[in-house]
Symmetry: C2
Subunit: 321 residues, 2 copies
C-alpha cells in the first residue's frame, strides 16, 4: 500500500481489502489480461479515489461490503482511463513500471481498457443504485471528453489557462468528485451532503492534477515513476508552461515550433518555464483550489474523517510523488 | 434504412425512430466526436441488433419508448466495438466509408469508442432494470474477450474450428443474444421465453458471422463496403480458411508462412480456399446454425413476428452483403 495511507491505519486496512476484492474481480479467462490487470493493481498506486470513497462513506451509514465494491470501481475506472491514455501517449512507464501498451502492444491495451470498463459496470450493476449508475455513466462521459479536449489541445501554443482548467476538470477532477460523491450517496448521506462532497472532490482534484503537472517539471523519472518529458514530447502543454506561454516569450516559442523536441529542447523548455515563473504561478493556483477545498470541508459535520480529509488535501498539495 | 427491412414496414418505421433517438444521443460538446458518431449512424448499417430487440419486445408488453432506447443501446454498443476493432485492424473502410481511425487517427478512435460505451451505459441506466444492466455488462465482458481471443489467434496456422467458434460466440453471437434477450426481458416476457430468445440469438449470430467471413472470400470491396483482404493481411484466419488448413495443404502453408501477404498471395489464398472446399464447409455449418435457430424459433408463440424472425434468419443466411 502506498505510503500516503500510513497515517490512517483504518482506511489503509480497508484499502487492503479493496485490493483483494480487485484481485478477485480481475479474474479473466485470458491470462494475459488477468495478469496485466493484476500487475496494475499491485503497482503501488496511490489509491486516492477508493480511499476517498471510503472516507466519504464514513459520514453516512457505513456498509463495508458495498463501500468496498464502489471503491474498487473507482480504482478500476481510473485504471481503464490510464490504459487508454497510455495507448494515446505511447507511454513506456507508468508508476515506474512498463505500461500495458508498451508490454503487450496497443491492440491489447485497447481491449484491456475496455475489459476494465466492463468490470466497472459489472460491479456497479451488482451494488449501486440505478441513480448512482446514472451519475456514474454521465461522469464517465465527461472524463472521456476531458481526454478528447486534451488531445485537441496538443501542440497548441495559444492554449489558454481556461482551456487547461476545463480539460483538467473533466479528465481528473470529475473522478475525484465521483469517488467522494458515490461513497456518500450510497451510504445514505442526504443530497446536500453528497453534493458538498462532489464539490470538495472537484477542488481537491483540480489541485491534484496541477501538482501532478508541476511535478513533471521538477521531478526525475525515479521519483515520479513515469517519464516526465513524455507528455511534453507529445505536445501536451500543461499549466506551468501555459502560464509562461501567455507572455509569448520568443525564445520559448522558437523551441516549441520545432517538429520534434530533442532532450536538450526539453531541458531548455523546463529551464525557461522555471525562470519565467510558470511553476510558481501554477503552484499558487493549486494552493487556491486547496484553500477552496478546505473551506468546503469546513462545512462537513465534525468527526475524525473530516480532519483526515483536510490533512489529505494538504498532503496532496505538498507531495513530491 | 438498409434494404434488409424493406419487407417489414412496421419494424422499419420503428428503426427510423431509433435512428432519430441515436442522433439525439450522439450530441457531444466535441463536434468531431459528434459528427463522427452521426456519420456512423447514417452509414446504412443493417441495424439487425436493434431490429431484433424490437421484434423480441413484440412478444411481450411492447412499450415503445423503452424498446427504442434499448434498441439504440444495442446499436451504439455494436458501433463501439466496431470502432475499437478498427483501431486494431487498421481498417480503412467500414460500410463502404472511411473508418473513424483512418479519418481522425487512432487516438481519437480510442476515445470515440469509449464515448460510445458511455452513451450505452447512460441510456441503459436511464431505462433498463438493474438486472438487465447486470446481464448487459456481463455480455459486454464476453464480447470483449471474444475480441481478445481473435487477437491471440492471429497468424496461428493451427487455429482450430473449435477456437474459431468460441471467439465468434463471444465477439458476435453474444450481442445477437443480448439484443433479442433484452427486448424480451424488458417487455416482461417470462424467464423461459427470454432465455429462448437468448438461444435463438446465439444461433442466428453464429450463422451471421460465418456468412460474414465467407463473404470476405467471395465479394469484392464494392459489394461489401469493406476491404475484404484486410482481415487476412492482418493474419485473421476465418472459418473457410480454417477448414482448409485442417488438411494442412503444403501450397497454402507456404504462402501463409510469408512475412507479408501481397495481393497475389491473397488471391492465391482465396483461390485455394475455394478449390479445397473451405467455402462449402463453412456454408454448411452456417446452414446448421440457421436450422438450429429455426427449430428454436418454432418454440415461440405463434404470431406475425415469429414468421418474421424465421424469414430474417433465412435472408441473413442467403445474403450477399
Amino acid at each position: 500500500m502506498h505510503k500516503l495511507w500510513d497515517s490512517y491505519p483504518e482506511i489503509k486496512k480497508e484499502l487492503e481489502v479493496v485490493i483483494d476484492l480487485m484481485d478477485e474481480n480481475a479474474y479473466c479467462k485470458d491470462k494475459v489480461i488477468e495478469s496485466s490487470i493484476k500487475d496494475m493493481i499491485h503497482s503501488n498506486g496511490k489509491m486516492i479515489r477508493p480511499g476517498f470513497s471510503i472516507i466519504a462513506a464514513k459520514f453516512g451509514e457505513y456498509e463495508e461490503e458495498r463501500t468496498r465494491v464502489l471503491a474498487a470501481v473507482m480504482e478500476f475506472f481510473h485504471m481503464a482511463t490510464l490504459v487508454h491514455d497510455d495507448v494515446i501517449d505511447d507511454a513506456k512507464l507508468r508508476r515506474g513500471k512498463e505500461t500495458v501498451q508498451s508490454k503487450y502492444g496497443k491492440d491489447y491495451a485497447v481491449y484491456i481498457g475496455d475489459y476494465l470498463f466492463c468490470i466497472c459496470f459489472k460491479l456497479l450493476a451488482s451494488t449501486a443504485s440505478l441513480q448512482s449508475i446514472q451519475i456514474d455513466s454521465k461522469a464517465m462521459s465527461r472524463i472521456c471528453l476531458g481526454e478528447v479536449e486534451q488531445l485537441n489541445s496538443r501542440f497548441d501554443k495559444n492554449v489558454s489557462v481556461k482551456n487547461y482548467l476545463k480539460r483538467v476538470s473533466g479528465k481528473t477532477a470529475e473522478l475525484f468528485s465521483l469517488s467522494l460523491y458515490i461513497g456518500a450517496a450510497e451510504s445514505n448521506c442526504d443530497k446536500k451532503l453528497s453534493r458538498l462532497f462532489w464539490n470538495i472532490g472537484h477542488n481537491i482534484g483540480m489541485a491534484f492534477q496541477i501538482i501532478d503537472d508541476i511535478l513533471d517539471y521538477v521531478s526525475d523519472t525515479n521519483t515520479l515513476g513515469k517519464d516526465s518529458a513524455n507528455d511534453l514530447k507529445d505536445g501536451l502543454y500543461t499549466l506551468p508552461l501555459i502560464y509562461v506561454l501567455e507572455k509569448q516569450p520568443k525564445e520559448l516559442l522558437t523551441i516549441l515550433d520545432k517538429e520534434i523536441y530533442e532532450d536538450e529542447d526539453i531541458a531548455a523548455i523546463f529551464k525557461l518555464t522555471h525562470e519565467l515563473g510558470g511553476i510558481e504561478s501554477a503552484r499558487n493556483l493549486a494552493k487556491k483550489y486547496t484553500d477552496k477545498a478546505y473551506k468546503l470541508i469546513g462545512q462537513l459535520p465534525d468527526n475524525e474523517y473530516k480532519s483526515m480529509l483536510k490533512e489529505m488535501s494538504r498532503v496532496l498539495l505538498e507531495r513530491a510523488y
